[in-house]
């Protein structure tokens, strides 16, 4: 997390000028930036390791919808982006 200062020497990269000095990456405690160490639900867990939350039982789809969607679990019924439309990443910091 420390290299954030290198990219933006005078703020901690949290896009809201929370007036933090450049010396440390530690944002102001009430800074709500996604990348702020004060807003990290996985705080204290080993870094650089993927985590998959444990699936809980939930209200499942009815039989007909389950077969059509390819799953009976709504939380697993996710859109599939087989191909990314040209320009999709414009303004999202991507190159495609």
């Amino acid at each position: 997390m420390n290299n954030m200062n290198l990219r933006r020497p005078n703020d901690c990269g949290c896009n809201t000028n929370c007036g933090n000095n450049a010396s440390s990456c530690g944002c102001n405690p009430n800074c709500d930036a996604d990348s702020s160490i004060y807003n990290d639900p996985l705080k204290g867990m080993a870094i650089a390791i993927g985590y998959v939350p444990w699936q809980q039982w939930c209200k499942v789809y009815d039989l007909c919808k389950g077969l059509n969607q390819g799953t009976i679990f709504p939380p697993l019924d996710l859109p599939f982006y087989g191909c990314i439309p040209r320009g999709y990443f414009n303004g999202r910091g991507g190159a495609l």
């Binding site: 699936q55 039982w57 499942v60 039989l63 007909c64 389950g66 077969l67 799953t71 009976i72 679990f73």
Partner: protein, 81 residues
């Protein structure tokens, strides 16, 4: 294939798919009560619909053949027919 037969076959497909999915969940959540009761419900529904299909249209699986004096399995058209 008549309409009713198609409808029953689709139902069997749907309930079989739901069983496969709940089995995958139970593999990692063997004590989950909700999943177990849903599995029980599906198992009953699948058994009943399979029996109904076998009774009306003949065996779907080779262990559904009830007729002891004729091997009904060969009566149905082969998959390529």
């Amino acid at each position: 294939m008549n309409q009713d037969r198609n409808k029953l076959l689709l139902y069997i497909t749907q309930v079989s798919f739901a069983i496969d999915d709940v089995v995958l969940f139970l593999d990692t959540h063997p004590c989950d009560k909700d999943a177990l009761s849903y599995y029980k419900e599906l198992k009953k529904a699948r058994r009943e619909s399979m029996d109904e299909y076998t009774h009306k249209y003949g065996p779907l699986l080779n262990d559904n053949v009830d007729n002891s004096c004729y091997w009904e399995w060969v009566k149905d058209p082969w998959p390529w027919e």
